[in-house]
Amino acid sequence: MTAILQTQKLRVEYRSRELRQAGKVALRGLDLEVHAGEVFGFLGPNGAGKTTTMNVLLGFVPPTSGAASLFGIDVRQPIARQRIGYLPELTYYYKFLTAEELLRFYAKIFGLARAETDRRIASLLKLVELESAAKRPIRSYSKGMQQRVGLAQSLINNPDLLILDEPTSGLDPLGRMKVREIIQRLKEQGKTVFFSSHELGEVETICDRVAIVHQGELKAVGTVAGISAGHANLEQAFLKLVGFQPNPAS
């Protein structure tokens, strides 16, 4: 099996703004491997280092030490991002552009041909149900519509690997279901999906494998069944792994 997303002894230390204070260590030697064609859930409590890992993979934050690669290419090279799609945790898009113009702009960044661009834009607008709003500036969109623009832009280059940071947070139940459906469909097409989530129920149903990080360290990695073995469910296993002691009184 080939790893299309890999980190080796990844360490990230955020330098603090004040001179004398020590930096904040967000990742301590994280080793991660995601294989082609799998849906991989990236779990961990708040502040565990999930977003930081993604920030390194996307080249936003340089690693303090260690390495990370996508498709075997070091993430410091922009070309490593040619075949990926990314949906940030919280983002707004150029408000003065329309959804169609935004997608066209990103298509140019990927160097897509004109005909290919037209075809992809039409199918994506349909997929996220924004056809009727496509010619309105994003300024006029609701939050859910903006999220859907985000999903559409992450798919503009027909990526082989999707990196999604909490793709379902802030969506209504219908929106969540739609996102899950899209992830399923991508999997059927043989794509790889790497996403972080706090929704363990959702993770149980769609992930082939999961990793649990805590305080910047990998606590467990494997199939949902493998990790839950010996526990009532994934949630119990998760709580145990991050060191939560159930209150004996209750």
């Binding site: 977003t51 920030n55 936003f60 922009p78 707004y92 898009y93």
Partner: protein, 259 residues
């Protein structure tokens, strides 16, 4: 290269969809028109005076548009978090800098064309003189100067996150150079020693924006500047622009951008 043009396209599109720039643009055009409406009575002094005012207006407007637009580019991308989906695409930070520069520079070029066109039509209709080559040279030199200014502001915007401080500092520096640039060497000679060397060094190591000010050539009908001088000035501007863009890239390259 097409990525850089795509980035520049977004800059330009934002500009023409923002209302505040229209205001400045229309205001300058209107003031130029109003100045043109003054009855000249064929008095040379008044003619020059009005032309001088119009050109000053064009200079101030173009500088303000260039500086304010440029100063907000990268901070706005970070503030609105649009930088993240952008950099997650196969685009390097050098290309982002280049695209932002190109967009701002092209936009200021369009503004200059419109301003000079107005100026030419108004003075031409009064004086029946159409020195296009002189205008072209003056406009080109001003545009070359704006390239240096825009690159410099882009560099500033990497270090000062607030666009307002970048704009203010840039405006002070640019106006300072424009007003004092030529005199600095003379001023230096009148100073006591440590200051004299510092000012002399500053004279040699600063971008001489004031060389690009050909307003007097236009106002006093002094004819044209030799093409060789314009070419040299263009090269000089290109070198300074390149230096500032390089420094901006060095600052931006390793910057932590956290979502």
């Amino acid at each position: 290269m097409s990525k850089i043009f795509a980035l520049a396209g977004v800059v330009i599109r934002e500009l023409y969809r923002r209302k505040d720039f229209y205001v400045l643009f229309v205001l300058t055009a209107l003031l130029t028109l109003a100045a043109g409406a003054v009855n000249f009575f064929h008095d040379d002094k008044i003619v020059r005076y009005v032309k001088d005012i119009c050109l000053l207006l064009i200079w101030v407007s173009a500088l303000v548009i260039a500086i304010v637009t440029t100063a907000r580019q990268i901070p706005a991308e970070r503030e609105a978090r649009t930088i993240f989906p952008l950099l997650a695409k196969p685009v390097s930070r050098a290309q982002v800098i280049a695209g932002k520069f190109l967009g701002c520079w092209l936009a200021s070029g369009v503004a200059l064309v419109v301003f000079y066109f107005f100026f030419a039509v108004i003075t031409g209709s009064k004086e029946h003189l159409w020195p296009w080559a002189v205008y072209l040279e003056a406009g080109w030199m001003q545009w070359a100067m704006l390239a240096i200014v825009i690159a410099m502001v882009l560099l500033g915007s990497i270090y000062f996150a607030a666009p307002s401080s970048t704009s203010t500092i840039s405006l002070i520096v640019v106006v300072g150079i424009l007003l004092l640039g030529t005199h600095l060497k003379v001023i230096a000679l009148q100073q006591p020693e440590p200051l004299q060397s510092i000012l002399t060094a500053a004279y040699f190591f600063m971008p001489h924006l004031e060389w690009y000010d050909l307003r007097d050539f236009v106002v006093y009908d002094m004819g044209r500047v030799p093409v060789r001088a314009v070419a040299l000035a263009t090269v000089y501007a290109a070198v300074w622009t390149w230096i500032f863009l390089l420094l901006a890239w060095l600052g931006f390259r390793r910057k932590n951008l956290t979502t």
